[in-house]
Symmetry: C2
Subunit: 236 residues, 2 copies
DNA sequence: GTACCTTTGTGAACCAATGCACAAAGTCAC
DNA sequence: GTGACTTTGTGCATTGGTTCACAAAGGTAC
């Protein structure tokens, strides 16, 4: 379940503050979810709670870590060492959670060879050998959008089945490969959407009126001009 | 709907390639969703398609942009100019989508005053005045976790109702405030979870065996050994 | 003008996830 | 030891979202 990391984060916070036991209710608040949902999620791992008392924090941390596979170290390679790649490389939050940055790779000769976060940036040509020799199992793609699919093809061909993609494109991958994407622009757009709703009290007031005046080239007048870029190829 | 930005991204890609019309089927592939879902989503905005032909790309871009509130400019302030804050400030993808970075703010005297992406980092003390004077409507929090709630309190008090949070904490906010969070560690943990499943063919093989040997303090002897580590500490 | 073909928009079935509510289980105080 | 209290684990109804499938709508060709 995708919420386990959230619980883990909350539990770690409790452990740091020296709290030994927590009820589903309190933990749910800390993780920002409903307590019934939390209990149901945890019950899928087994019966690790004690009725009348709650859950033992350390023990639950261990069980969730095990379930998530965090009891082992994962080698991660970051491809594309630009603004974002550098930030990721310097981020301490990965290492502390069992993710080890095993390699930084880039195509730019200016960047290759420079040192970042204790690593030397390697050339993208060595991608396959790095993956093989350092047992990399997760690849982070932080290249420009145009290069992402190409990088993706190479890493999947090299046997990688877990990819975290920051480039704003939908990656096409073989079956069995997991891709998770993070698109910050999309997050902002969703916020803007809600923000707009708050201001106008719904798009139906000012905007709907403006909806009809389409400033675009032709509108869809006579025959959708260039339109119908023959769907289905040039099948007509 | 949270998928509109995805469609918009795919549409922009089509527009750049000079494609004037697209069917729901093709667009769905480009956005990585089911075509029926896409049609249903779009029908919520109104009837903007043409049966037998599809959707006019430019017109649909306009309609979705309007729905998302992207026809106006949004002023964004980034609080916390560390590794991540700098990457965000340098990212061109925001500006091109109608988001303007109006201010960079930080608490560190070393950082305040330095120039990044054409802006000068300002001191966090001026947070409220910056928000007010530059009509900031969205705040991005990229501070360490410990400072996030405090920053959040201040910006909500200043009237902000849209926050994008990168710090790994659950923010508590007044009603009516939207918070979206991005936690990269969580993304990696989810990948690790699936990766582990692939390798072991389910946690029930090797791991379940290991489940009972809890290395924690007490170990739980007598009843239901592994399970139920004496909640409430080493209370025995 | 007519017949055919493509694609939309949507009713209806389906599925998964959510939340409620409560009995069972265990703790704590005395 | 006993009884009251707390909290888990889960059956069940509900909700929301996804997918199927198809009639209606419009375009294209001749
Ligand atoms: N910076 C951000 O805050 C941010 C936010 C959202 C999304 N993104 C996305 O993340 C990606 C990276 O952003 P960025 O700001 O770091 O861009 P950037 O241009 O600063 O960095 C991209 C890096 O990738 C390298 N690269 C290009 N082609 C490559 C290839 N084929 N193989 C390996 N490396 C290659 C470049 O040399 C460069 O160092 C982009 O797709 C961007 O849209 C970035
Ligand atoms: N760097 C990453 O790739 C990454 C990935 C995931 C999550 N995060 C999270 O994003 C946040 C920032 O990460 P980072 O790597 O940029 O950290 P960082 O330490 O490099 O930067 C944090 C910045 O915030 C400033 N700051 C501290 N307290 C402040 C306050 N009260 N007001 C304003 N500014 C303040 C600091 O001066 C510093 O410049 C952290 O919470 C981190 O967990 C970062």
């Amino acid at each position: 379940m995708a919420r386990l990391p959230l619980y883990l984060r909350a539990l770690n916070g409790l452990a740091e503050r020296g709290i030994a036991t927590v009820s589903s209710e309190d933990l749910a608040v800390g993780a920002g979810v409903n307590s019934a949902k939390l209990r149901k999620d945890l019950s899928h791992l087994g019966s690790y709670g004690t009725r009348g008392v709650g859950y033992d924090v350390d023990y639950l941390i261990y069980q969730i870590s095990r379930e998530l596979g965090l009891t082992q170290d994962w080698a991660v390679a970051i491809v594309g060492v630009g603004n974002l790649g550098r930030a990721l490389a310097n981020y301490g939050g990965f290492v502390s959670r069992g993710f080890r940055v095993a390699s930084l790779l880039d195509a730019d000769a200016e960047v290759v060879g420079t040192g970042i976060a204790g690593l030397v940036v390697e050339h993208i040509d060595s991608l396959e050998s790095v993956i093989r020799e350092r047992a990399v199992s997760i690849v982070v793609i932080a290249t420009p959008a145009a290069a992402a699919q190409e990088v993706c093809n190479r890493v999947t061909a090299a046997g990688i089945t877990s990819i975290l993609n920051f480039a704003p494109v939908v990656l096409t991958v073989p079956d069995g490969v997991d891709v998770r994407k993070v698109d910050l622009s999309i997050e902002l757009q969703i916020l803007a959407f809600h923000e707009q709703r708050k201001v106008t009290g719904g798009v139906d007031e000012t905007a709907a009126a403006a909806a009809d005046q389409w400033p675009g080239t032709v509108g869809m007048s006579e025959r959708n001009q260039g339109a119908s870029a023959p769907p289905r190829g040039g099948r007509t």
